[in-house]
């Protein structure tokens, strides 16, 4: 499998690890921004292979985790209405809103469908002219362009029964907010490679310079992540703080001009709430005024929603790297992947779920794995 297996090669990984071990002289906290990177780190056990001086803080880059509760409640409300076909990516179905999730809405008779692209939702709108088709448009700069395209096409075709429930978020304002937070521990960022493949890297040099923080554009396979860590540690140890691109096979400085043009046409930036963190100014996108009629929040009046997060959930502090998941009192007792209090315990990319899986081991794992001789 070209471009995947090569980037999981154990021998090359060993060399990168050696280099990191040889370079590091004191503790550094690095934040990987994207949930996909967190997933890969846990999936491959990368965090256990790094020197103990290198701490990876799992950032707020899991779209499932940071989508505000209020918007999830709006989704649940709209999805419950007769005549609505509510379309979503699969992993949003299990995210708890206030009291229930989209799976439960479906069990109660709502027409909730898993699609794999907003264009599939658009096709459903064409096939069902007497139904309202709503697509749950969440995610970072990566998932935004296809959603913009769907709205663009709907407008062009005059598909009045299609709308988008939008909660897009942007990485650079989140980095800004994390660096400005009191007690910020992050000393370097592994920027999200896929986001940069769309947006390019032009937004980052100013951030790196002003906050004196290295930003390394990093991919998702194990070797990508190790290379990102290696470059970040090298910068930190040398006292540098610049933007480096460690994901050159996918990212060019100017990003994807066609995708950016589509984003500029359909969306406009807006303040956006991040679940567990709060409102970050200018950190999201909403539909531009001329596409307002395709905004599900505009089309369906969903006012008067009062949201309620479980009081014991401290995912906000976890998402900012201020609290390790296992330091939360509810961790592993009241809050598990089976009974999540917050979104960080739901998504496999969420920091709490990732910690839950690893921590349950209690460090007794490695020896017996060597023993097998029959092969």
């Amino acid at each position: 499998m070209k471009y995947i297996e090569e980037f999981q090669d154990p021998e090359l990984a060993g060399k990168l690890l050696e280099d990191i071990h040889a370079t590091v002289t004191r503790p550094w906290a690095l934040m990987e921004v994207c949930g996909g990177q967190t997933h890969s780190i846990i999936r491959h056990g990368i965090d256990q292979l790094l020197p103990e001086e290198v701490e990876l803080i799992h950032g707020p880059g899991c779209p499932v985790c940071v989508t505000p509760l209020e918007l999830i409640d709006k989704a649940l409300e709209i999805a419950s209405r007769p005549g609505v076909i509510f379309c979503s990516f699969g992993d949003m179905l299990r995210v708890p809103g206030t009291g229930r999730d989209l799976f439960q809405v479906r069990a109660e008779g709502g027409d909730v469908r898993v699609v794999y692209s907003p264009l599939d939702a658009l096709a459903l709108a064409r096939e069902n002219p007497d139904r309202e088709v709503v697509f749950f448009g969440i995610g970072f700069e990566t998932t935004a362009p296809p959603n913009a395209m769907a709205v663009h096409l709907a407008a062009r075709e005059g598909l009045r029964n299609f709308s988008l429930l939008v909660s897009h978020v942007r990485v650079p304002p989140a980095i800004e907010a994390i660096m400005n937070a009191p007690h910020c521990r992050v000393r370097a960022f592994l920027a999200a490679g896929h986001v940069c493949s769309v947006m390019g890297t032009e937004e980052y040099p100013e951030l790196a310079e002003r906050h004196r923080v290295p930003i390394v554009v990093t991919g998702f396979e194990p070797l990508d992540i190790l290379e990102g860590v290696r470059r970040a540690v090298r910068q930190l140890e040398a006292g540098r703080a610049t933007v480096e691109n460690a994901y050159q096979r996918a990212v060019v400085p100017q990003g994807n001009p066609a995708a950016r043009a589509m984003l500029d046409e359909v969306f406009t930036t807006t303040d956006r709430g991040w679940r567990g963190i709060g409102v970050i100014p200018d950190s999201g996108w909403r539909l531009a005024p001329r596409f307002e009629e395709f905004d599900a929040e505009h089309r369906f009046s969903v006012e008067g929603i009062t949201t309620q997060e479980p009081a014991a959930c401290r995912s906000g502090e976890v998402l900012q790297g201020l609290l390790k998941p296992h330091e939360c009192e509810a961790f592993g007792t009241d809050c598990t992947p089976r009974t999540p209090l917050g979104a960080t315990m739901v998504s496999s990319e969420g920091a709490c779920a990732a910690y839950y899986l690893y921590r349950r081991l209690g460090g007794t794992t490695t020896a017996p794995l060597e023993a097998s001789t029959v092969d």
Binding site: I4, D91, G342, L361, P368
Partner: protein
């Protein structure tokens, strides 16, 4: 300057909610929370209850087992062992609601035979007779039913079992999904054979009969909205002849399991839990076809959790492992059999994988449906 306003659960929230005093953090009181924790209790059936994971297990343990309560049910294995007139019989039933009805490499008819035959074979039984119930939706084309019946008959002949009794019901249009099938089967357990999950013991070698994930990916590739060309067929096959070949070299097979729903991960977790043993998996040793790995990488799925319909996992004492492996490799359905790990005393009830890079991760039981990830 950008800053983070805390609006999360640790500060603010619904002003009407009783606020947990800071001093109470050590002992959060669930009864004080104003909203029920999500997913904690289900008033209705959700899709996850049929996913073969933790929710399915809960349904069986909390609703079905207490209601039925017979001793034969207590093992909760894929088939029950019962004594009738001195003969030890394996008895099993399975229902089939697959969509689409026809997929690369098979159909619901093949599944209905092989699924039940394999459930019987996993206890070492020689499957003999099947029953078959058709639940048809008004309006289904007769040609479709004929094709399914023919596939079912052919699969039964291949497996060497006879469909001895059957039933047909028709439900009104809109109240079914085309065709649902149920089969039940009985088979004779040979003397001296005692194969069940509880017999897994530290020191056992874990063998898989061939590359995993083909069935799940083949079906997914034909599912509405996700058609992709993967060039892979379902591995759907009856495993009773392979089991017979293994039993020909030793009676001492401890556990056999076909990793269907929830894949290898679910099957190994069930065995680890049933026998209170740990399973140490070597991830790189698990054979995964390139197309399956590619499709999983694209969809964000883990091949260990993808369904198989013609593979088995065997727990075999180390002393017997070479002979069993040789017997498997001499059989067409076990030609690519491989040792993927072993049974250990450590981490009882848990499956822990050594990753390709040398890290470890816990392979958790699937919660319900595996959901394609957003990014």
């Amino acid at each position: 300057m950008t800053s983070i306003e805390a609006v999360g659960p640790t500060a603010g929230g619904d002003p009407g909610a009783p606020e947990a005093p800071v001093g109470d953090r050590a002992a959060p009181d669930p009864s004080g929370w104003t909203c029920p924790a999500p997913l904690r209790g289900h008033e209705r059936i959700v899709m996850g209850h049929g996913g073969g994971g933790a929710l399915s297990a809960e349904l069986v343990e909390q609703v079905f087992a207490p209601a039925f309560g017979g001793p034969a049910l207590s093992s909760l294995a894929d088939s029950a062992a019962v004594e009738v007139g001195g003969a030890r019989l394996a008895f099993s039933t399975d229902s089939f609601v697959v969509r689409p009805l026809f997929f690369p490499g098979g159909s619901i008819g093949d599944l209905a035979v092989n699924g039940t035959v394999n459930d019987l074979a996993m206890s070492g039984a020689r499957p003999a007779y099947l029953s078959c119930g058709f639940i048809l939706e008004e309006g289904v084309e007769l040609g479709t039913v004929t094709r399914i019946a023919e596939a079912l008959g052919a699969a039964a002949r291949t497996a060497g079992v006879e469909v001895a009794t059957g039933d047909t019901k028709v439900v009104e249009a809109g109240r079914g999904d085309g065709v649902y099938l149920n089969t039940a089967g009985i088979g004779l357990i040979p003397d001296g054979v005692d194969i069940r999950p509880q017999r897994a013991a530290p020191g056992d070698v874990v063998i898989v009969s061939g590359p995993v994930g083909a069935h799940g990916v083949a079906v997914l590739s034909r599912r509405a909205g996700l058609e992709f060309e993967v060039g892979i067929e379902s591995d759907c096959a009856a495993l009773n002849s392979l089991v017979a070949a293994m039993l020909a070299v030793t009676d001492e097979l401890h556990v056999l399991r076909d990793p269907t729903r929830g894949g290898v991960a679910a099957a190994l977790n069930e065995i680890a839990a049933a026998a209170s043993v740990g399973v140490a998996l070597r991830e790189r040793a698990v054979p995964v076809p390139e197309q399956v790995a590619a499709a999983c990488a694209m969809l964000g799925l883990d091949p260990l959790y993808v369904a198989n319909e013609g593979k088995l996992l065997a727990f075999v004492p180390r002393a017997e492992a070479d002979a069993v492996l040789a017997a498997m490799r001499a059989h067409p359905l076990g030609a690519q059999a491989a040792v993927i790990g072993e049974c250990v005393e450590d981490h009882p009830g848990m499956v822990v994988a050594r990753t390709g890079l040398g890290g470890t991760r816990v392979v958790d039981p699937p919660l319900g449906e595996q959901l394609p990830r957003i990014c």
